[in-house]
């Protein structure tokens, strides 16, 4: 299992677990992170699963595609560590990945 440590908008932290090869957005939605609206269901079209990855964990993820980058660039709360959770597939790893749910646009 890979562990995600997710800081929600109210500052509370939740632990989310998924199998290697699993989709971060899907795991968050399935495990009750209701702030992740995921209106497009993972099609990389709505940017409502915007998260910030902790700096030390950014390099552990596959880089964003051009479409994901276009969507991120159009967001008000874009940061260098922004990602769309639906575009992240986790690999094996013993340390948890830390992330923060971005503000609603």
């Amino acid at each position: 299992m890979v562990q995600l440590v997710v800081e929600k908008r109210n500052g509370e932290t939740s632990l989310v677990e998924l199998e290697p090869g699993g989709n971060v957005m899907q795991a968050m939605v399935d495990q009750g992170i209701s702030e992740i609206a995921a209106l497009c269901g993972g099609a990389c079209a709505c940017a409502t699963c915007h998260i910030y990855i902790a700096e030390q964990d950014v390099g552990r993820l596959m880089p964003a595609s051009p479409v994901e980058l276009d969507l991120l660039d159009a967001l008000i709360y874009r940061k260098d560590t922004s990602r769309l959770a639906c575009q992240i597939i986790v690999q094996h790893g013993s340390n948890p990945i830390h992330m923060v749910v971005a503000p609603e646009e």
Partner: protein, 359 residues
């Protein structure tokens, strides 16, 4: 603030503004357009500061506009320069609000923000509009819907087989599985590409494309907040997309411009220009072309968009948590770019206010 102001909106077709002034409401502001004695276009507040009469119903006298109600005259900078009454005194007063105007490709572009910030490099290029190789038809109508729904309509053309099966599209069974779609964006534009390989030409090619089937390319440019250039063409199957063609080429180019201009949050001006490069002197084809686009836009698109607007009851699309499909990428990018530009404008506005308070 609901509207992006530091941007260009179409204020009308240049050919529609002659000796008589015109009025148009953009982003809730009533604006008068007129030409001076040299033919240059000017735009200012359409309201005389005396009894608030519409100056656009007045007369142009040389480089001045005369109010139709009591005859006060205003110069091109919006200052009252003549009072025909009594001792002809003109009380000191701020001039009327003026707007920067830029005439390009036969479009009168109006900058709604501070005139000194007007940036002409941001005007959308629509070169086909004054290229003699095209026959161009222009029009304008009003829509009872928010302008962003009109953006969505063009940025998500997956509606075409359903709403326009016999006009600018073909029935779903012929195309839905064949279409490929791409979208990308930069800071103030979205670009989408639809490709339909090996399809029968749609009615908008007016029977002028000879082969039985062809490849249709639609490259669309959206410039924030609501101006579109449609680069639409059909080419013989398997041949590359063209931007210009030689006389014996069977390809056909029909570029278009769709310029949405918010009048209010619930009403929008729709300026459109459609064109063709083939058989441009054929009157019969031109009549058919006019009827086709009238049906497409006024009878097919507008009733649907207005119905959606009514059912949304003034709420923002994202607030209603819509189902978002892969084919919505272009419209989602545009909506986010608009949000971001509005946030930037509102924070600049807030900073201005803070500075004023400190001083």
């Amino acid at each position: 603030m609901t509207f992006i102001l530091n941007t260009w909106y179409c204020g009308g077709w240049a050919s529609d503004l002659m000796e008589k002034p015109k009025s148009i409401t953009i982003c809730g502001e009533a604006i008068m357009l007129f030409r001076d004695s040299a033919g240059a276009a000017y735009a200012m507040e359409d309201r005389c500061p005396h009894r608030f009469a519409p100056l656009s119903q007045g007369k142009v006298i040389g480089d001045r506009i005369q109010c139709p109600y009591h005859g006060l005259e205003f110069d091109r900078r919006g200052a009252c320069v003549f009072n025909p009454h009594g001792k002809q005194v003109i009380p000191a007063r701020q001039p009327l609000k003026t707007y920067a105007v830029h005439e390009q490709n036969g479009v009168l572009w109006i900058w709604m923000g501070a005139p000194e910030q007007a940036d002409e490099s941001k005007v959308l290029k629509l070169d086909f509009l004054d290229d003699g190789r095209y026959l161009v038809l222009k029009g304008h109508f009003m829509v009872k819907a928010n302008y962003q729904l009109l953006n969505d309509n063009l940025l998500d053309l997956s509606h075409v087989p359903y709403i326009h099966p016999t006009t600018v599209g073909m029935p779903p069974k012929h195309v839905v599985r064949k279409v490929t779609y791409k979208a990308h964006a930069d800071a103030e534009s979205v670009y989408t590409e639809r490709f339909l390989p090996d399809v029968a030409p749609t009615a908008q090619f007016l029977g002028l494309f000879k082969p039985e089937t062809g490849d249709i390319h639609l490259h669309l440019t959206w410039r924030a907040p609501s101006s579109f250039h449609l680069d639409l063409s059909i080419v013989p199957c398997g041949t590359p997309k063209r931007t210009t063609i030689e006389p014996d080429d069977q390809a056909m180019l029909i570029p278009g411009a769709h310029l949405m201009v918010p009048e209010t949050a619930d009403t929008t001006h729709y300026f459109y220009a459609v064109s063709r490069n083939a058989d441009i002197t054929n009157e019969e084809k031109t009549v058919a072309m006019r009827a086709l686009y009238k049906q497409t836009l006024l009878d097919e698109d507008m009733p649907m968009i207005e119905a959606c607007h009514r059912l949304m009851r003034g709420r923002e699309l994202m607030e209603l948590k819509p189902l978002v499909l892969e084919s919505d990428l272009g419209s989602m990018l545009a909506r986010k770019i608009i949000n971001k530009l509005l946030a930037k404008q509102n924070s600049a506005h807030a900073t201005d206010n803070v500075t004023e308070t400190i001083e």
